[in-house]
Subunit: 339 residues, 2 copies
Amino acid sequence: VHALVTDLLAGSTRAAARVMRAVDDRLPGYETLLEQVFPHTGTAAVIGITGSPGAGKSTLVDRLIDRFRLRGKVGVVAIDPTSPFSSGAILGDRIRMQRHFGDADVFIRSLATRGALGGLSRAAADTARVLEAWGAGVVLLETVGVGQDEIDVSRVAASNVVVTTPGLGDDIQAIKAGILECADVFVVNKADRDGADVTVRDLEAMLALGQSVTETRRGHAPALPLETKAPEPELWRVPVLKTIATRDEGLDAVLDALDAHRSWLATTAEGARRLRARIEHELVSQLSAGLIYDALSELSQAIRDSVTAIQEKRSDPYCARRELAAAFEARRRIDPLGE
Amino acid sequence: VHALVTDLLAGSTRAAARVMRAVDDRLPGYETLLEQVFPHTGTAAVIGITGSPGAGKSTLVDRLIDRFRLRGKVGVVAIDPTSPFSSGAILGDRIRMQRHFGDADVFIRSLATRGALGGLSRAAADTARVLEAWGAGVVLLETVGVGQDEIDVSRVAASNVVVTTPGLGDDIQAIKAGILECADVFVVNKADRDGADVTVRDLEAMLALGQSVTETRRGHAPALPLETKAPEPELWRVPVLKTIATRDEGLDAVLDALDAHRSWLATTAEGARRLRARIEHELVSQLSAGLIYDALSELSQAIRDSVTAIQEKRSDPYCARRELAAAFEARRRIDPLGE
């Protein structure tokens, strides 16, 4: 075992930071570090927290850290959008968490989004594992917004909290199925504002509706062959909770709900299925990313030629796709080592 | 040439609907239809329009249809989110476009989102081509929100309009780099509301900032090998325009901006580069989707076994990924026809 991993497992903050940097920069041997870290992971509570900017999410996370801190070390992965535009504002927002930076038992790690090919969820999963090996019993994955990046990250977390506020009707309308379906706990923050009860009722109605109509959802595109429809499980009823994070109100109920969800995961067949699905998702997305990378590297000239042919109307995207797939196959046949 | 395609090219609305259904349901021979349609496409203005629900986008689209209608046939692809929760509201929103349903020269086609593997952008691209073959000189691709789906669809459009409203500060903060970077025209609708000028200035400042800091963006994940950084092009200066769609104010300027963008695309090297990038993106994303589908179909049992091994700590995601990639390679070697 690498000395860095030994130090990490002994709880060294410095070792944790060095391992994360090695992983981040893909320094030689970083995969060995992750392989050695892996056996020491899998028991921490990995909790995703997402919601629109302005929902008071940072204050809420801050209050949750306070509480989880009483149980031991806490890890936070704060995921910044790629945007050069909003990063200022969002980092500013994170200042509300800043007082925890002085606490040696709270490790806050920022991740920039990694764009394509599952890079972000991979980075989030790896960082969460390093934080767990460092000793965190709880790892919070904080994301901003309700887009694909957040859905990807939510698949790394075992429990997901989605934060909204009263009166964000448009916001709720904009919440995509993906994030609604991954929410294990809903929080309506700023619950002292007008319309909090209406928002709670709306969310509850949406959740009730969602559970009955999901089955009939449209879409003919081929699903991933691995995504088999599970039989109706012991259902987790998603609670909708009101908080006023700035006044530290309602947070205990959020903690209770997260604890209940954790024990539901640990004790039901559906919980076991979800764990398997998480592992499978990580494996499949990383495998796919590697495959695409290889194929595009190998075919880059052929793709450029096809684009020109399409542009000049000598080909079309449908033929070209078939030809490129055949070329990828053929290269393997001629040169079985793929070199 | 298939009789349906002949009818489509003659402008038959019925043939257009039938071709779209064949493509949608992947009926036998649908790719042949698309291949026969393709040579008759590439000159229509394909315009993406996106923005949060509540920004008044549907009214704006309605007004744009009025204007484009004066030039000939218009196609609209209205892209619904997958969500069973929000579809009601958004379809309700679309009722504002309804009066055009009676117009034989406006074809409005709804698409549900197709989830994974580039299904949505493929459906949008195919539908836009059928609409162009039917005779539409303009095809509007209307999406809701600013997430990954919308970014994917925006890559199908040649020109993209992003709609926002005054006072949606959080909204602007939430706009991801991807959608900001794909905006060719910004519209601040409901410009009679307080703060319209502030919103315009904010957007202009973001755009100015974006152009200088994009270069320094972080992220170490391997980029797709095809995504090479282009040299500084003849820049398109993204205009920020005020409209009051309900009173039909400001729409002519939007039309002018779209016309200017279209002629910029047609006359500059950067415009030609963008056209190439659009073709390349379509080809690469469809090729990747096919590859992943094949690999996952072939490896499904091996993946299930790996998940079990990881769960039982006999393996880890890093080893398992390498082993699966090697297995995919090996199968090809043993069984070169991949059967």
